[in-house]
């Protein structure tokens, strides 16, 4: 029985969520770093693991599974000693966690991810500044998602009640991402701010460990992509 393998890059929000979950539930795993910045998700070796070029992926003794939410649900089912609050067995409580897990794809995941991609990742890759119209479009989408967290989802200490679940780890990891591109979802959102601090406290030291690289980038570049002069020829 080999150790669970986790293919990841902590620049990716869902990868950070999985890392924090595995550390907090003490599931033994072997991390395999796939450096997205170096295009390692396109290597022939990695494409055998995921032809869709994405991390995270797990290899659980030969069983390969993609998609962070599917992976989290599988680990909660399969691994020993995962406390019930992470993903409750009670059918209605579980359904309410699922409600958030399914909403977040086109909510925070699309909103925060697209903003980061448009204002940071694409300029870094192409050397081109994004157009004002594109910035506005993805900013509106992100702001709407962050406002939904503040005004709709946070009725209790955590998203699905007063105990932490996998929904909270996914939410917090997404909300950290736009800071790379100069937008902090906590500004002007007191409930969201307290919530993020609560998730961090409940899951540390792994929360800070998972966010180490992005925090270093935020500190160094202050929300601006480190554009280089493109070499000619």
């Amino acid at each position: 029985m080999s150790k669970l393998k986790l293919y990841l890059d902590t620049l990716s929000q869902p990868c950070r969520s999985l890392l924090i979950f595995l550390e907090n539930t003490k599931i033994p795993y072997e991390p395999i770093v796939v450096r997205l910045g170096k295009g390692e998700q396109n290597s022939p070796e990695f494409l055998k693991v995921n032809p869709l070029h994405q991390v995270p992926v797990i290899d659980d003794n030969g069983f390969i599974l993609r998609e962070s939410v599917a992976i989290l649900r599988y680990l909660c089912r399969e691994k020993k000693n995962v406390a019930d609050h992470w993903y409750p067995k009670d059918s209605r409580k579980q359904a309410k966690v699922d409600e958030y897990l399914e909403w977040q794809h086109l909510g925070t995941r699309l909103g925060c991810g697209l903003y980061f991609r448009t204002l940071w990742l694409e300029p870094l890759a192409t050397g081109k500044t994004p157009e004002i119209r594109d910035i506005q479009r993805c900013k509106t989408q992100m702001v709407t998602a962050c406002d939904s967290i503040e005004n709709h989802w946070l009725k209790n200490k955590y998203i699905c009640g007063d105990e932490i679940s996998i929904a909270d780890i996914l939410a917090a990891s997404e909300l950290e991402q736009p800071r790379l591109a100069g937008y902090d979802p906590r500004d002007g959102r007191p409930k969201l701010t307290e919530f993020m601090a609560r998730v961090r406290e409940a899951t540390n030291p792994s929360y800070d460990e998972a966010h180490k690289i992005i925090n270093t980038i935020v500190d160094k570049y202050k929300g601006q992509p480190p554009l280089k002069e493109k070499k000619s020829g």
Copy 2:
């Protein structure tokens, strides 16, 4: 014990999926139509059911649940006589269905939905033709998603093996949507074409019933939104 209530509009892909599932599993339900075209998702009565303005929603004897994927999982767990193939209890098989359910949000759901919205829904609401750049952007996204279905997901008769699951109903309902805006995902994709015919055959007559309104619109308007001259003043 009151009957399960389903708030829906068959113009919405996830609503059609739920309708097809409920009919095929013979779960008794009461449909409550929320006419999106008339803005009924914004009415004070509906906002009590879903403050996020979206259908589908179920009310299962007072338990309100949103998000089609969360609803489908809940119904497979809770309702009697739902055949195992819809959402297998075997952990690894279930994980593979989950893998698709989670991928599809930013895959077919975003791709096909955004195309429909940009080329059909928004022009209908505003009377304005979309910009070429926006058409290109969302067409690329949709084509990529449809190609993933053709080249990656369809290795067997159905998406997760040789038996139909909730993944297939969701996939087929999404792939029907861009036809409203003049794009048929079946063109040039033989595996996807066979797959859609297979899902239709396996779930009829409810598949045709669920797609009745959109088929009527496609026949009548041939993929063009029925724009009216905006009244002045």
